[in-house]
């Protein structure tokens, strides 16, 4: 599914947030602009009101205002009518067509400017009883939008009716004076604003989505690299590595960790492949011998002595294969940790003593002297396996020694460890070979030793057994004089 992809999920969240932010912002901007527009229209209306009802120099003010006596309604009404007619004339020259309506106290239309809509309802606005012409007090019905007030102390009202905006004031004689104008032009400009807000919002959304996609793709790309490399490795090409362009970020660290994992995997795999190839190589030569021997022997009738020779050669080859197979199995078991080693109390010096007795005839045959310093060395371990360790080390010490050489064997118990040290006076191991001698099938001379019988696994098995006991084995060599193997086991 496409929506399971991280990139698509990031993109979906990103677009939802972007749409919400843009919508909120656009909505607010629209409303602020609309309020401002209304306020401006209201101010305009109020100014018009003042302009309209301000006493004109050429007019004679109403008598009541002049004398301070009670106003004469008829006079004032006439004054207002005059004002409305003047305004109508003035308005005719203006783009914004204002209209004016005057209602007398009883709600009848007393005067109406030409062009005013006919369906304007009578504004329900009560006259403030406390207020008077001369008494300035705050209105309590509605707050007039404009600062200048034509009739201080009297309530006023601003309203929107269809596309019209109207301001109503309560006049001095409980009459109602209305100034209104059409807002068609303003509404059109608000619609334009809304249109452009939507366009701009869509553009920002588009840009935001494109940017988000780009950022998400950039963030995902290393993951795609990693995934592609891992796929190639899974397909069998273990030499592949993730190319590290930016090692500082989290994915760079991940790629580094993966690369080192791949490297270890490759080396383990190569070791395994080499081991298998070496093992098959070791098996091929004895099989060749058997094949060749039997095919030659069977090619014609032979004296029985020749058959005996053939059988002996075949037996030697088969013995060699058996030895190799046993070694391979032992290693495989130790590798897999399948073989549960016994943990018995055993004395390493006694085990080594028995190995010495086994090896002594061979050593005597080659004129090699054995010197021992065996002190009691108790440890916990598998006596059979530990015997294999000492047998291997002693056999090597004899085989790689010179005629008439010397072997020194010692066991000790010191510092919480049990040690076995075997030193021989053979030709030694070259410094470049020393780190590899515990590797499987590693041979310093790169070929089988001429006396045969050595699988090239002896030291590898020895090391595996020692490690399975939680111990360590090391080799030191001074080429030309002596070689020392040291095994240390925990008590």
């Amino acid at each position: 599914m496409i929506f399971n992809s991280i990139r698509w999920r990031v993109q979906a969240w990103h677009s939802v947030i972007l749409v919400l932010v843009l919508a909120g912002f656009g909505f607010t901007a629209y409303h602020v602009a609309r309020d401002n527009q209304l306020r401006r229209v209201d101010q305009e209306l109020e100014q018009h009101f003042i302009l309209l009802f301000r006493p004109q120099p050429m007019d004679s003010p109403p008598a009541a205002l002049r004398h301070g006596g009670p106003p004469d309604p008829a006079e004032i009404l006439a004054h207002i009518r005059g004002a409305i007619q003047r305004a109508a004339r003035f308005d005719a020259t203006q783009a914004n067509s204002f209209y004016h309506i005057l209602w007398s106290t009883n709600g009848n239309v007393a005067a109406r400017s030409p062009g005013s809509p006919m369906d304007v309802p009578y504004p329900q606005l009560a006259r403030s009883p406390a207020a008077d012409f001369s008494n300035a007090g705050e209105a309590n019905v509605a707050t007039p939008p404009a600062p200048a007030r034509p009739f201080p102390g009297q309530p006023s009202l601003a309203r929107t009716r269809k596309e019209f905006r109207e301001v109503v004031h309560v006049g001095p004689f409980d009459d109602r004076l209305l100034v209104g104008r059409s807002m068609a032009a303003d509404l059109a400009s608000m619609r334009r604003l809304a249109f452009w807000l939507v366009i701009a919002g869509a553009a920002v959304l588009g840009l935001g989505l494109a940017g988000g996609w780009w950022v998400a793709s950039r963030a995902i790309r290393p993951i795609e690299d990693i995934s592609a490399t891992a796929a190639k490795i899974a397909a069998g090409d273990l030499s592949q590595r993730i190319s590290l362009t930016d090692t500082e970020n989290e994915l760079g660290h991940l790629a580094g960790v993966l690369n080192s994992t791949f490297a270890r995997l490759e080396s383990a795999f190569n070791n395994q492949a080499r081991f298998t190839s070496d093992a098959s190589h070791e098996l091929r030569t004895p099989v060749s011998t058997i094949l060749l021997q039997t095919q030659t022997a069977l090619s014609r009738e032979r004296p029985s002595s020749e058959y005996q020779e053939t059988l002996e050669a075949c037996q030697r080859a088969a013995q060699r294969m058996r030895q190799l197979i046993e070694s391979l199995l032992a290693l495989a078991r130790l590798d897999a940790g399948q073989e549960l080693l016994r943990r018995d109390e055993c004395d390493l010096s006694a085990i080594v003593g028995r190995s010495i007795e086994l090896i002594r005839p061979l050593a005597t045959h080659r004129g090699i002297t054995i010197q021992t310093t065996l002190s009691k060395a108790l440890c916990r371990g598998d006596a059979t396996r530990l015997a294999q360790v000492s047998d291997n080390l002693l056999t090597n010490a004899v085989n790689y020694n010179q005629e008439g050489g010397e072997i020194r064997i010692s066991t000790a118990n010191a510092q919480g460890m049990v040690t076995l040290i075997v030193t021989n006076t053979g030709a030694g191991i070259a410094a470049e070979d020393l780190p590899h001698i515990f590797e499987r099938f590693y041979r310093a001379d790169k070929a089988r030793t001429s006396n045969g019988g050595h699988s090239g696994l002896g030291l590898a098995i020895t090391k595996a057994i020692v490690q399975a006991h939680g111990g360590a084995i090391t080799a030191r060599s001074e080429p030309g004089s002596r070689t020392t193997f040291t095994v240390s086991l925990p008590v």
Binding site: S277, H281, T285, S288, T296, A317, D445, A447, R448
Partner: protein, 219 residues
């Protein structure tokens, strides 16, 4: 035909030598690379069977050094059968390649093939006039009638036939027909030549006095 077997595993080497001797070859053995290189450079072998894993000097190194001086056909024996190893062996100057464990029959056939190729002879049957030498079956016929030859006589005839038109010196014949363990007297060669002439005709092998023997090519 004289062969050199370079193989470090003693049982395999001795078995190979015995099997090849029984098939009419004179065979020398070498247990390591240095001995193998020395013998290969010193004697005229018709082919060398070379193991790759050798102590001292491995098969590839031996081959590299040998190719500076000699073109002796080399059949490599190896336990490794991956392609890069085979390519390396063939590019390094080996003429053929056989993976252990191998079949004796295949080894013999491949040896005959490399020896034949080195003598620029494509067919395993060599025809000289009325005489046909089947090198695969080691059988000689004259006008369709089998000629009974001892192994030594056959080897002598085969060597001369593969080098027909060339004068083969007595030294060369000794080098190619006897291995290092034979201590035959020089006149035994003349005895074999004379016996061979009795069986396939006196004019078949001509003697170039002071030089050696020769089989002239015939239609």
């Amino acid at each position: 035909m004289r062969l050199l077997v370079v193989e470090d595993e003693p049982d395999l080497r001795e078995t190979l030598k015995r099997a090849l001797r029984e098939n009419g070859y004179a065979v020398d053995g070498a247990a390591d690379g240095k001995e193998g290189l020395y013998k290969a450079e010193t004697y005229e072998y018709d082919a060398i069977v070379l193991d790759i894993m050798l102590p001292g000097l491995d098969g590839w190194e031996l081959l590299g050094k040998l190719r500076r001086t000699r073109k002796t056909p080399v059949l490599m024996l190896t336990a490794r059968d991956n392609v890069p190893d085979r390519v390396r062996g063939l590019d390094g100057g080996a003429d053929d390649y056989l993976v252990k464990p191998f079949d004796l029959g295949e080894l013999l056939a491949r040896l005959r093939a490399v020896i034949r190729r080195s003598a620029s002879q494509a067919d395993s049957c060599v025809e000289i006039g009325e005489v046909v030498i089947d090198t695969a079956a080691r059988v000689v016929t004259q006008r369709g009638v089998p000629v009974v030859l001892t192994p030594r006589e056959y080897s002598l005839l085969e060597f001369l036939a593969l080098h027909q038109g060339e004068v083969v010196t007595r030294t060369a014949l000794y080098e190619h027909l006897y291995d290092e363990n034979d201590d035959s007297l020089s006149n035994t060669l003349d005895v074999h030549v004379s016996n061979l002439r009795k069986k396939v005709g006196h004019d078949f092998i001509t003697t170039r006095r002071g030089h050696g023997y020769c089989i002239e090519p015939r239609a």
